[in-house]
């Protein structure tokens, strides 16, 4: 990819959209601040386009010797339900409790 010198600047609507995807709610002051900061960061990051990566494989794991890691599908020791729920802000009858999501008929 060639660097065209085009400045890809993130808009306030982009910030609101990404905040919604991230389950974050920003007030207008935050939107303005993050738009400015993220634009500066993304402009800096644009320099990656200077690098010729034609035919270069992506790295997801740095040690190329590591491929898939499997284990036998055997039951082992794991947390008890009580332990797994021990940090839940709200729980009921051995389950995590959340606000009602199905409306009553």
């Amino acid at each position: 990819m060639e660097n065209t010198g085009r400045k890809k600047v993130i808009t306030e609507d982009d910030v609101r959209y990404v905040a919604r995807l991230s389950r974050l709610r920003l007030d207008e002051k935050d939107v303005t601040m993050f738009r400015g900061q993220l634009s500066a960061i993304l402009e800096y990051i644009e320099q990656l386009n200077e690098v010729d990566t034609e035919g270069v494989p992506p790295t997801s794991h740095v040690l190329s010797s590591m491929k898939n890691v499997f284990r036998e599908d055997e039951p082992g020791v794991s947390l008890s339900p009580e332990e797994a729920l021990s940090n839940a802000p709200e729980k009921k009858d051995g389950f995590f409790k959340v606000p009602r999501i199905i409306k009553e008929a």
Partner: protein, 483 residues
């Protein structure tokens, strides 16, 4: 205050000379920490009673391991069963993990007295320890300055003599940079060398746990204990762990050290530059050969990192939803509202910034231009190192371009803050082991760190070179005033 914690051996001698129980010694140590920490604030919390009980437990166990009684600080993102572990974030308020990290099990098995709650940047997002929900840790050398980050509490606790050693985690320099700025030794092992089971995830393709200590011998000793295969971490590598402590006394003659021009071009503070030049001369005098090498993609490392790390972080932090653990917003509303309100109130500004950046670069239409592109550039950066290690055994650079900056100096300018990790990020991207050792005072008498990097699983080369450097210099003996 007497420097009883300058080394593991020194601590053991002090402990041997004491009468009374290990719990008494633990109380003495936690009193001492509380007194020093009034200024330094290396810990988010100190629960003296729990620590004393742990000491009693170690004493009753009867078996005296290699680290019996040695106080080791644990960064607040490493789980210990039943102990508050919060990543310095409000969203993990009150979280007591139901299991212990592999490194916690290993240190405990050797009798170490673990002292949890070492302060950090929230979720390890930062280079200064200022994003902690508990407020910043202060540099023991100058309390108006940052200790570095994100493992700033771990480094400050070691540098101020509160503990003998500490564990930190390093995703883009978070062990080495604070170690450099606090004048102590910090080691990031090869990716896969130390199990991350029980480390609260930041960026899973980069995170690694490692030791922070006052000297290279202690670093080797802790590394030897915490390394090794663990089937609970699928990135853990099944390779035998060498006896790192056996590399300590080897000489550096015959060693070839690469000096990468790209790390010395611009932007290094003069006080840092001159200390590094002197260090290179020390190695030459010790019989090492130095060669000029090139790592041509160095300038892209920060960009590459600030795509990959926030992308992975945004995914890892999706689990904080107010339902399973930690902070839950008490407000009314449905499930979506519960998620949003809990995350909004529980996460700090830098965490939000990284989640937004990461979500943006992974979102539809941008994935290929950002994340995939960064993964390819990452390959080029790793290839640079593979090529370089054909000509040298290890690579020498500054750990950080500057000494510790003032608290507040960079908080409003995220990009400048991100650029302070420019020399440490490449080792994470390439998965390499790297160490920072003190190499003398720079501007204002503040510590400067020297970084050495080696090929994957060549930790011994780093221990050997760093130990020889330390043996022939006095830098590691310098102490902050008043401590």
């Amino acid at each position: 205050m007497e420097d009883i914690l300058s080394s593991i051996d020194g601590f053991k001698r002090w402990l041997k000379g004491r009468t009374g129980s290990l719990a008494d010694a633990a109380r003495f140590l936690t009193d001492r920490i509380s007194s020093i920490d009034a200024d330094v604030r290396a810990f988010a919390r100190i629960d003296a009673e729990r620590i004393a009980r742990r000491a009693s437990g170690l004493e009753k166990a009867g078996k005296k391991g290699r680290l019996y009684g040695v106080p080791v600080a644990i960064k607040d993102n490493i789980c210990a069963k039943g102990e508050l572990t919060t990543c310095a974030s409000r969203i993990l308020e009150g979280f007591r993990p139901p299991y212990s990290a592999a490194v916690v099990e290993k240190l405990s098995a050797e009798g170490a007295l673990l002292i949890g709650g070492a302060n950090m940047d929230e979720f390890a997002f930062g280079s200064s320890c200022e994003t902690s929900c508990y407020g910043p840790t202060r540099n023991p050398w100058d309390t108006s300055r940052i200790p570095g980050g994100s493992s700033g509490g771990s480094a400050a606790a070691v540098a101020s003599g509160e503990v003998t050693a500490a564990l930190g985690s390093d995703t883009g320099g978070s062990i080495r940079q604070p170690a450099a700025m606090c004048g102590v030794v910090g080691f990031k092992p090869t990716y896969g060398r130390v199990s991350r089971y029980g480390l609260i995830a930041f960026a899973s393709s980069l995170d690694q746990i490692g030791p922070i200590t006052r000297n290279v011998a202690d670093c080797a000793a802790i590394l030897e204990v915490i390394s090794g295969y663990d089937n609970r971490d699928s990135t853990s590598v099944n390779m035998e762990v060498p006896r790192y402590t056996e590399s300590l006394s080897e000489e550096t003659g015959g060693l070839t050290i690469g000096i990468p021009g790209e790390y010395f071009r611009a932007g290094i503070a003069e006080g840092v530059r001159s200390r590094i030049d002197e260090a290179i001369k020390v190695f030459r005098d010790l019989g090492a050969r130095t060669v000029d090498i090139s790592l041509p993609h160095t300038k892209y490392a920060v960009s590459c990192y600030y795509i990959i790390a926030p992308a992975e972080a945004s995914s890892n932090l999706a689990r904080y939803d107010g339902v399973h653990y930690g902070y839950r917003s008490p407000g009314p509303g449905g499930l979506e509202e519960l998620y949003t309100a809990s995350r909004n109130a529980g996460l700090g500004e830098e965490a939000k910034r990284r989640i937004l950046l990461g979500t943006y670069s992974l979102s539809s239409g941008y994935y290929e231009a950002y994340y995939l592109k960064a993964q390819k550039v990452r390959t080029r950066i790793a290839d640079d190192f593979r090529e370089a290690f054909k000509a040298c055994d290890c690579i020498l650079t500054p750990t950080s371009p500057t000494t510790a900056f003032k608290i507040g100096e960079r908080v409003d300018d995220p990009l400048t803050m991100y650029l302070s990790d420019i020399f440490t990020i490449p080792a994470n991207l390439a998965g390499l082991p790297a160490i920072s050792v003190p190499c003398g005072p720079g501007e204002n008498g503040l510590p400067v760190g020297l970084q050495l990097m080696a090929a994957p699983f060549n930790e011994e080369t780093l221990i050997r070179a760093a130990s020889a450097f330390e043996r022939n210099t006095e830098h590691h003996k310098l102490r902050p005033e008043g401590l």
